[in-house]
Amino acid sequence: MMRTRPKRAKKPRPSTYTPAPGHRFSVGDRVAIKRAFPPGHRRTPYYIRGKEGVIERICGAFPNPEELAYGFDGEPAKVLYRVRFEQKHVWPDYQGPARDIIEMEVFEHWLAPAPGREKRAKATRSG
């Protein structure tokens, strides 16, 4: 059965994700979190600074919370990634098995390619 399209423009379907044109990293890339300790509002937890992980997914581009916190509009939006880390790498004294992982969101400006690492197999997007 054919239906005529409604004349009014449809509202865009809601999505968790937004586009991230020009994203620097791709799923599976090995990255390092900047070993930097700037003052002010940051959403990169202290415990992950300087650690290495793998891009698990690209979330999209969002206004920078480090600017929003002070009344600025946070534009231009920054690409946000989810990064996966091995717990034994993050915590030297980690008591659980080596297979345990931790994931979090990291903005692109906190990321650099992991030094001297070749691309490994793609991180699975097991949700």
């Binding site: 379907r13 809601p14 999505s15 968790t16 994700y17 959403r43 990169t44 937890p45 415990y47 979330c59 999209g60 969002f62 919370p65 946000l80 989810r82 717990q87 993050v90 915590w91 980690y94 008591q95 659980g96 098995p97 297979r99 345990d100 992982i101 931790i102 994931e103 979090m104 969101e105 990291v106 903005f107 097991s126 949700g127």
Partner: protein, 230 residues
Amino acid sequence: MTNMNDTPFDYYADKKHDHTHGHHAPVTGRDEGPPSEYEVMSRAMQELLEAKGIVTADEVRRRMEIFEQDYPYRGSRVIARAWTDPAFKRRLLKDGKAACAEMGVDLEATRLIAVENTPEVHNLIVCTLCSCYPRELLGSPPTWYKSDNYRARVVFEPRSVLKEFGTLLPEDVTVRVHDSNADMRYVVVPMRPQGTEGWSEEQLAEILTRDTLVGVTVPKARSQKSEGRG
């Protein structure tokens, strides 16, 4: 009218079973005892904002009602749907916000990522930096989620934390912790337990208590009311 500080319990688990233990503190309730400095401050700020026409008492009251009567019941319905409809589950895992919208669940500003428990992987959610939580899906977070001890410990000793909640995982299961530190919010899709074959979505929703959707416990195929915690 019961003082909410008397007996700790999962208010929402109770309500799902529709038991009337007299614990239903209505939104128009009152706290007992003299107010703290911060309660006075909060009320004063609200009144000043009302007087200046920035918010109305009605708007705030409506938000209280939504947090009380609507939000807390959504998550279990969505996950129960995922348990009964594999195609919906795939869509939920692919794009949480879109899948909720399908069900008429409007997450407003929240961007939801659903993470699935499997025999190989157990997921656990935290916000170490504050208390980020998918409020439009699950309601307000429990006090333990917002506590300093949970925020500090679950990232570096998740198995020990799980044990405190009575959850023991085999060593060959991967524990996958999610620190919801930026724009995404998370919900766990637990494994559907044995003994729930043929259950309706409503019955399944009843065992999908809040704790199971954050990942500190796993759902069990029996009534939760004996546990006293959801």
